[in-house]
Amino acid sequence: MADKTGTMLYLDGVSVSFDGFKAINKLSIIVHPAEMLAIIGPNGAGKTTMMDIITGKTRPDDGEVLFDGRTDLTKLDEAAIANLGIGRKFQKPTVFESQTVWDNLVMALRKPRGVFSALFYSMSADDEARITEILDTVRLLNRKDDFAANLSHGQKQWLEIGMLLAQDPKLLLVDEPVAGMTDSETVETAKLLKEIAKTRSVVVVEHDMSFVRDLGSRVTCLAEGSVLAEGTLDQVSANPVVIERYLGR
């Protein structure tokens, strides 16, 4: 298949089945450095499962999953993959509810992850400035001392995006980031992700078509675990198969 060198994420012929049901079927996807890829597709297409495979939550039955053109992700566990520089925002926003917004970011901030490093960690002025900057970016500065549980759904999404920023990953996997957001928040999120994609690779899964249009990136449509169509949003949404299987419904 295509050349692996110079890719940030490389999936080739990946399959996984759950009790005989093929959730991912010979899926092949490539993302380059500093590139954004939007993934669309009907419910149950396997978008989230694809992210599970990349982040080590699910092991593929078959196929190749490479990070940075060389690291085989199928051999590593979740923590090791995260530490390689792959960050993930979950479809259902998952933040640490019983802790403050600030503490959520302290934990996410890119630092040595060992037990003793965490025990002896003390916050430097730089770290504090960085977290403040992130809070400002995700507009949660005035909520920094609130428990994450008390945030609105949209704000939790923002906090999780903030945690992604704090992790400073090379590759971001963002699953349905704008669910529960107002229109203006959605526009802001698109701006933010585009800004991030200037220096990192970003994979965004989303059903909101106007948001995907705002992203202005390459688009891949998945259905039944494999690629249905690829190209610009206009090309993909003009594709008769995509219309029949996804957009037309």
């Binding site: 995260a82 509810e97 019983s98 802790q99 302290v106 934990m107 992850r113 037990v115 025990l119 002896f120």
Partner: protein, 446 residues
Amino acid sequence: MITQLILRALDKKAIWLVAVLAVIAIGVPVLNLVVPEGNPLHIPNYAVPLFGKYLNYAMLALALDLVWGYCGILSLGHAAFFALGAYAMGMYLMRQIGARGVYANPTLPDFMVFLNYKELPWFWNGFDMWWFAFAMVLIVPGLLAFVFGFLAFRSRVTGVYLSIITQAMTYALLLAFFRNDLGFGGNNGLTDFKDILGVNVQAATTRAALFAASAFALALAVVICSAIVNSKLGKVMVAVRDAESRTRFLGYRVDNVKLFAFVVSAVLAGIAGALYAPQVGIINPSEFEPGNSIEVVIWTAVGGRGTIVGPIIGAIVVNLTKSIFTSGSSYIAAGLVILIFSGIVAVASGWTKGLIVIAASIAIPVLYGLYQLALYGSFKLPALSDVWLYALGGLFIFTTLFLPKGIVGLIAQWRTMTTKREQHDRNAPSPADVEAGVDPQPNPAE
């Protein structure tokens, strides 16, 4: 690095707690030794090791809370670590007896002579030296916790399954320690202690010193636990408790975090056990009884898990209650305790729930009586000591249902209620805020 850790540990609550423990550590021995008998402030000799025992239990509960309250690991085998620490200390105390035993054997403890041992089993070597024995107090529980935790957490055993295997662990140890050929005195355990560090274990001064040591050990445990929970590692532990898999995706090795907490906790439990053995004067396999570990969970839940002071309060309150129920007190005393508890429940979560507690407390002895009536033809109330286990179970059930955050949660609830009322009364920044130069916070409009 270390100083920073300790500074962080000593937040306002921890300082208070350590100060109170220091006062107790000095105060109780003084009231026992210096204040003459007959003075109302005098603490009788029997009470000193009793209070000391409560402090050891409190330390055990705090150790459990570190893994359960903060890290979400519900260990139902924590009394095993406590008992192992106690056995290590017991072995030292046995070897201090020397030739003063009934059989006057200079090296072999009485039970070994009785069981026809020809020589000391290899693992008893070294326990005649205090430093070796004290090191074993830390190493044995720590090592068991390390091996057990390594295997369990690596294979991602969590939740109920983990709780069950911790029960199995303590049960297996119970069975093993019951055996005479294991070399720990079988079901009689280790007893008849004479000396500790060259002084008589029974002497009032030694008892007072052991009490003070228990209080200081608890204070040390408070500092250690609060250093851990106030660090970033403490936040990660809570993250593991609340959303284990999410924590992995941030790059933390959840199994290592749990292993660290588990080992530290086991070592603290072991120290508590080591201080317990000389104060109660005996250590036997019943300390491994699965029920003991469950009791520790109840103390912690009643006091308030996920807090430092909660398990300490819980252990002391529940054990005081236990002594009211089990040491020949009257139904009236027990009834008063139940009334107080139901009153607390009523205040905290409504009078109907308070009534449920009272109803249950009356129903159980009455049902027992009716059962006796059916069996033997005479209505007979149960002995209070037989009721204790039901009372303990009821306490646990009603606490989890009606006071989920325990006694400490109740105090916090009461405090926010009063501060809210104050804010409502004044609706102005408090003088402290003005002094500190804090801008009055506008009410969030959204």
